[in-house]
């Protein structure tokens, strides 16, 4: 770093105009530096004024800043951990909660009207042995059409996976993939349904 001349030497020692300008620029830079170093951090009372140079060398203040940083990091870590636990509670519980029920009393014994559930609305064979494991079964998933009905292999059991439409109603056992055309405007987004089957010979005879 260049060493600034003494502030009291205001008279240029050299007669050269360029050197003179250079000399005064030195003085201006030195004055600016001093003004910055002497800027008080707290100006409420003159007795509490602390300068930048003093603050750097104060071990108590350094210790306080370190403590504040540590406290900030600890709070951030606790917040992140709390958010993760909250996600586990909300997402995991939706499918796999094994919390104890509020009551095991049959509602009909308390006067609540019972509902006869037909066999067709019960979980089908598609769930396999998952029904016996006391696991919550999905009731409103995007793949629900794979799980509904006794056979779930009818033409109507289509799943809009996007970018394909899938079903298991093909001529052979397996999964069938269809093209999917998404139509959208400023009010809705929809997938076009399939066109009805073409008339076959037997339909033609019946109509006539």
């Amino acid at each position: 770093m260049r060493q600034a001349p003494d502030m009291e030497e205001r008279t240029p020692l050299k007669s050269n105009a360029i050197d003179e300008e250079y000399y005064y620029s030195y003085q201006l830079e030195a004055a600016t530096l001093r003004e910055f170093e002497l800027t008080p951090l707290q100006s409420a009372s003159t007795s509490d004024i602390q300068y930048l140079s003093e603050q750097k060398s104060d071990p108590k203040r350094v210790w306080m800043y370190s403590l504040a940083c540590f406290f900030g990091f600890a709070c951030s870590a606790l917040l992140l951990l709390g958010q993760r636990n909250a996600n586990e509670l909300t997402e995991g519980a939706a499918w796999s909660s094994k919390a104890a029920p509020f009551s095991t009393v049959d509602p009909t014994t308390l006067g609540v009207l019972g509902t006869e559930r037909p066999w067709i609305s019960r979980p089908g064979k598609v769930f396999g042995d998952l029904v016996d494991k006391d696991l919550p079964l999905p009731t409103n998933s995007w793949f629900q059409n794979f799980l509904l009905g006794s056979g779930n292999d009818e033409d109507g059991n289509k799943v809009f996976q996007v970018p394909y439409i899938l079903d298991i109603a093909g001529s052979i056992t397996g999964i069938r993939t269809h093209a999917c055309h998404v139509q959208a405007n400023d009010r809705m987004v929809m997938v076009r349904d399939f066109t009805p089957k073409r008339p076959i010979l037997s339909d033609f005879i019946v109509r006539r």
Partner: protein
């Protein structure tokens, strides 16, 4: 034309697997929010028996996935459609081709095939996890109906078919399909 059920491409197996699948789950949670895995399996496979009748296929279905994949366990892959080919089967990016006009022809595929169907106007890519050999056969119902001289606007109800069948089973392999073009020749009205 895109929205006819017959335009679909089915990934199945040669083995006599049950028509209705079950949900395959590897633990808890039993269901994922974005995926489900269907399984068609024999009783022997579910009882973990290692014999010839123990075979299965599983379809992991993931929302938004550009592939439809099927895992085969001691099973023979089979692809089926109710359409006929529009052009030859392009094998391994043009290394070879087949017109599917000889059911005894052995089609050797290292990695992938490309097939395009007539009237459906869809082109599909078929990817294999290991080299396989296939036989191919197809039946053109449109040509058959033309020979019947039916009244205008009436069809016989006979379905076209396309069958691509592996010559032997795979112990554990995967076949996946992806649609690469839904407007192959411009027949599809969605092209406009």
């Amino acid at each position: 034309m895109t929205h006819e059920m017959a335009n679909g491409l089915t990934l199945g197996a040669v083995e006599n697997l049950p028509q209705s699948p079950i949900v395959h789950s590897q633990g808890t949670p039993a269901f994922s929010k974005l995926a489900i895995e269907l399984e068609w399996s024999t009783d022997a496979f579910r009882q973990r028996q290692q014999n010839a009748g123990s075979s299965a296929m599983r379809a992991p279905i993931v929302r938004g996935s550009p592939y439809t994949s099927v895992l085969y366990f001691n099973a023979t892959p089979r692809l089926h459609a109710e359409r006929v080919l529009k052009g030859p089967i392009v094998i391994d990016q043009g290394r070879a081709s087949s017109y599917c006009n000889n059911p005894h022809e052995i089609i050797s595929v290292q990695k992938e095939m490309k097939i395009a169907f007539d009237s459906a106007d869809l082109t599909w890519l078929i990817f294999l996890s290991e080299p396989m050999q296939f036989t191919c056969k197809q039946f053109d119902a449109t040509a058959y109906e033309r020979s019947l001289n039916l009244p205008p606007g009436v069809v016989s109800g006979t379905k076209s078919s396309f069958d691509l069948v592996a010559t032997k089973h795979v112990l554990k392999g995967m076949v996946r399909v992806a649609m690469s073009n839904n407007c192959t020749s411009g027949q599809n009205p969605e092209c406009k």
